[in-house]
């Protein structure tokens, strides 16, 4: 395949694979815990970090890492303290994060041309040092999940009971949001801030329809993520389309197909039952 002979494509496939691991694992928690809104919000505040990076003259990805971690912790506190107005406040923080980014970028000296690549992704131009950053973040995510999977599951399943038996829901909720923040950073280069939430939630929502345990849901999500990023990359190469958007559209198509399939197989199973 001539597609594979270019180093930047092999690099991109590597990033796609690392992204699939992070979003398959963390996305599964996002879907079962129904926190897609907070996650989308965290991903948009990353723009503030990108802007801050430009402004301070450091790598925008490093700026994004710290900024999203900070906003994840802030949102964790908000949802802990203001259960009743949680969604409103989180929506406000989303907007503030982005607005800060716009201001920082405007104030930044010099050249900010690759801004669009952070917003919509550019998996084909990931520099080597960012590949390393993504790898390190992936390892941190996997280690944390390996250590605290049962606690995360319990807090997601029944927060009140977790509290009753003495599991700190505040700590584990906060830690999970930090993992989401790191996952967002991992995904920014692949699909961009705006599209992160789709790739984070689509593979686990498909996987959830066909699996009955967390482990298999995560495994299938990783596989689907790899299929979507690799396939999207190939299609974008073939038709000369933007890679991030192509990956998302492929994932979206996969989601619709799985819904359709589920509907059809569900109907057939039902008819069979009545036939007997």
């Amino acid at each position: 395949m001539e597609f594979l002979q270019y180093e930047f494509i092999r690099n991109a496939l590597m990033v796609g694979f690392l992204v699939s691991i992070a979003c398959g694992v963390v996305g599964t928690y996002v879907v079962i815990k129904r926190i897609a809104f907070i996650s989308g919000s965290i991903s948009h505040t990353a723009y503030g970090g990108i802007g801050l990076g430009y402004y301070l003259g450091i790598n925008p990805m490093v700026g994004a890492t710290f900024f999203t971690l900070f906003s994840a912790l802030a949102m964790g506190e908000v949802s802990h303290r203001m259960k009743d107005r949680e969604d409103t406040v989180i929506g406000i923080m989303w907007a503030i994060g982005m607005a800060l980014g716009v201001i920082f970028v405007k104030l930044s000296p010099g050249y900010t041309a690759d801004l669009m690549s952070y917003l919509f992704g550019s998996i084909l131009t990931v520099p080597h040092n960012e590949l390393i950053l993504v790898l390190i973040l992936d390892i941190i995510i996997l280690l944390t999940v390996g250590l605290f999977h049962d606690q995360f599951t319990m807090v997601a399943f029944d927060e009140e009971f977790a509290q009753v038996i003495g599991i700190s829901t505040r700590f584990y909720n906060g830690l999970l949001l930090c993992l989401i923040a790191l996952t967002v950073v991992v995904m920014i280069r692949a699909v961009g801030i705006i599209l992160v939430i789709a790739l984070l939630t689509i593979p686990p929502s498909i996987a959830g329809q066909y699996t009955r345990s967390m482990g298999s849901m995560m495994g299938l999500s990783i596989l689907l993520g790899a299929v979507f990023t690799t396939g999207g990359l190939y299609l974008s190469y073939l038709f000369d389309l933007p890679s991030g958007a192509t990956i998302i559209l492929l994932a979206g198509t996969g989601f619709l197909l799985s819904l359709l399939l589920k509907n059809i197989t569900g109907k057939i199973a039902q008819e069979k039952r009545w036939d007997m």
Partner: protein, 255 residues
């Protein structure tokens, strides 16, 4: 011989969203007590249990558990909530839900053999061992309630708080369940909230009636005063079906 005080509540006031729900509650539960709490809907029974667990912060007053604060000792309690709201599509099996009850005590990353044995034992106690590998979302309401009882028992609590645990289970399991509680009460302190006055008066050792304030004399006598206080209605409406030995007027047996 004086039994140990397991739960001690002094001058407790609780309000929710600005409305007083519990007023000046004083209650001491001794080791080995099997306390039944009755009272009308909205009387504050669930709120009282939730205060004991530290899930609701009191406005005023003190609660101590086994001589320590709620924050420190609430993990000595097993709890079966009145409503467990969880997501039917959550990918988790019955056995893993029960195991979760032992998570806080677990050392390290994995459950021990003892954890698994205890899980099996508790599933047997509630007669759910056959469904151990079912996803929790596939269970009926009553089956789910049994699993929650197993989850409450699995961590060897010294106190068991049960909030209408038999509300949706069938009569066969109700009988089994009350017998189980009677057995457990030999080694545990149990507080049971229920609207089933007949069952309560048959199995419990002491009865309290809660309607914002608490009527409790640390005995099994369910007086006309208590019922009238609790339900704000004439005794005859409630008393039907209650064994006479537990229903007393101030000076004699009613009926």
């Amino acid at each position: 011989m004086t039994a140990e005080e397991v739960i001690r509540i002094k001058n407790l006031y609780v309000s929710l969203a600005g409305t007083p729900v519990l007023e000046d509650i004083n209650l001491t539960v001794y080791q080995g007590d099997f306390l039944g709490i009755i009272g009308p809907n909205g009387g504050g029974k669930s709120t009282l249990l939730r205060s004991i667990l530290g899930l609701v912060k009191p406005d005023k007053g003190e609660i101590s558990i086994a001589g320590g604060s709620v924050e420190k000792n609430h993990t000595l309690i097993g709890y079966v909530p009145q409503y467990a709201v969880f997501d039917r599509s959550f990918p988790i099996k019955v056995r893993d839900v029960v195991l979760m009850g032992r998570l806080a005590k677990r050392r390290g990353r994995f459950y021990s053999r003892q954890d698994y044995e205890q899980m099996e034992r508790c599933l047997e106690l509630v007669e759910m061992q056959e469904l151990r590998n079912r996803p929790i979302g596939d269970l009926s309401g009553g089956e789910r309630q049994r699993v929650l009882v197993a989850r409450a028992l699995v961590a060897d609590p010294i106190i068991l708080l049960l909030d209408e645990p038999t509300a949706s289970v069938d009569s066969h399991f109700q009988a089994t369940f009350y017998e189980l509680l009677e057995r457990l009460s030999k080694t545990m302190t149990i507080v049971l909230v229920s609207h089933d006055i007949t069952a309560i008066s048959t199995y419990v050792s002491t009865i309290a009636c809660l309607n914002r304030t608490l009527h409790y004399q640390h005995n099994k006598e369910l007086t006309v005063e208590m019922i009238e206080h609790g339900y704000n209605c004439p005794v005859e409406l409630i008393a039907h079906g209650i064994p006479h030995r537990v229903l007393h007027a101030h000076d004699g047996v009613v009926g």
